[in-house]
């Protein structure tokens, strides 16, 4: 998933190892902004078939790679 994030957001010079599981993705962490959040919403749709219905959930879901992974797994468990 880190690789997908790097690819989706065209983050040159960053490798998956550079992103910590709990590192904040936005502002002080990786420095992402509102446009990146929209890109990540599409990433979830494209790769995991998850539609983030409520945009207000964004900050919670995209806090870190771990929260994203948990959100995806919770969704897949629901659909299984």
């Amino acid at each position: 998933m880190k690789r997908q994030i790097i690819e989706q957001l065209n983050m040159q010079d960053i490798t998956p190892e550079d992103i910590g599981d709990d590192q904040p993705l936005f502002v002080e962490g990786l420095g992402l902004d509102s446009i990146d959040a929209l890109e990540l919403i599409v990433l979830l749709q494209q790769h995991y078939k998850i539609k983030l219905s409520n945009a207000d959930d964004g900050p919670k879901v995209f806090r870190s790679v771990r929260t994203m992974a948990e959100y995806i797994m919770a969704h897949q468990a629901q659909n299984a």
Binding site: Q12, E39, V42
Partner: protein
């Protein structure tokens, strides 16, 4: 010496109406940042050798952008945005200017790569699963906006997008701002890019010489149609208040649209010189927009012979190719020639004497004509 700045308007309304409207002012080129198909960017000798292209297109020599653009911003930028922002940064650095009083860009095509990307995904994915980045970077004002963002510059910010008048309009806007506040220092530039799609489509429209042509080196040999596609991002700092070290003075400029005949074109050029109180003999060098397409080059031949009395002249599109804002490159060339006093061999053969006054004349498809008079500082 204070000469006027004729704006805009020899008019085609009536035969008798040929006088140019004059606004009293003149402005100076303080610095430039030029990314072009030649080695023009940064502290480099003035066209030490000519870079030649293969057939079809003439692409820019690009610097390592990471020196100029913050890593967090660069990841969203397409090539033209990087070219524009870096050229602007270099230009400001050369002028020793941190905060310009205005940022004005001219671009006919805007951000084609992002436009093509979003368009392609939209069509291929049938309007589903689209992401915003290419869209928001596709607007024509992106380069001007990104420069403002990078500098945290809240001042005047404008973008002109009128085909072969895009850069001319931007420069006129700058000239008028300087007319209002002469001490201002304005960042103004012209930029356009070639993309895979644009080159393919403009080729289908018959604009370029075919794959069998010799590229930029053979641009003016033989009587054939078509030219070579070019691109560039060239910025200037201009000001109304002269300082030691300024490159050149822009004394006058004008544009005219769709002249109805060769005679009309000749009359406009003639009256442009008239309005400056100049005779053809006063001009040391003419830089023409010849592009190797015999249909359009005919106009330059006529003009040089019938109106300008066979002056010393050089082309410039063998150095940068043809594109709607190529006059930004021509102004850069004129200013550097005036700064150095002579024509570098890579550009052509100049007169033996020191060059003090240059006329730049370009037409884009015989629709957009522009004239600039520059003198040494």
């Amino acid at each position: 010496m204070d000469r006027g700045l004729p704006l805009g308007c020899p008019t085609g309304v009536t035969e008798t109406q040929t006088a140019l409207t004059t606004v009293s002012m003149q402005f100076y080129i303080r610095s430039s940042g030029n990314i072009s198909p030649q080695n023009t960017f940064g502290q480099v000798p003035f066209l030490a050798e000519a870079v030649v292209s293969g057939p079809g297109k003439f692409s820019c020599l690009e610097p390592d952008y990471r020196q100029y653009i913050d890593a967090k911003m660069i990841r969203r930028m397409s090539r033209i945005i990087k070219m524009g922002v870096a050229a602007a940064q270099e230009c400001l650095k050369a002028a020793g200017l941190q905060m310009p009083d205005a940022i004005i860009t001219g671009t006919a095509y805007g951000c084609l790569e992002d436009t093509g990307l979003f368009l392609t995904k939209m069509v291929e994915q049938q309007e589903e699963l689209l992401t915003p980045t290419a869209f928001i970077q596709s607007t024509h004002n992106t380069v001007g906006a990104q420069i403002a963002l990078m500098l945290q510059c809240h001042n005047y910010n404008n973008t002109f997008v009128h085909r072969g008048f895009s850069f001319e309009s931007a420069l006129l806007d700058a000239a008028m701002l300087l007319g209002e506040r002469p001490a201002s220092q304005i960042l103004v530039g012209g930029l356009d890019e070639i993309t895979g799609y644009s080159h393919e489509l403009l080729s289908r429209l018959g604009l370029y010489k075919g794959a069998g042509s010799r590229g930029s080196a053979g641009l003016f040999s033989g009587q054939s149609s078509g030219t070579i596609g070019g691109e560039g991002a060239c910025f200037f700092v201009v000001t109304g208040s002269r300082r030691e070290g300024d490159w050149a003075s822009v004394d006058a400029m004008t544009t005219f649209y769709k002249p109805d005949s060769m005679q009309t074109t000749c009359r406009y050029v003639d009256s442009f010189l008239d309005s400056q109180g100049l005779a053809p003999a006063d001009i040391d060098l003419v830089i023409t927009g010849r592009n190797g397409d015999f249909r359009g080059d005919e106009i330059y031949r006529h003009l040089l012979k019938d109106v300008l009395g066979n002056p010393c002249h050089i082309p410039y599109k063998h150095l940068c190719g043809e594109y709607p804002t190529s006059t930004a490159f021509a102004i850069w060339l004129a200013a550097r020639i005036l700064q150095s006093g002579s024509v570098p061999a890579a550009a052509g053969t100049g007169p033996a004497k020191t060059i003090r006054r240059v006329l730049v004349y370009n037409h884009y498809h015989n629709i957009h004509h522009s004239l600039f008079m520059l003198t040494a500082c």
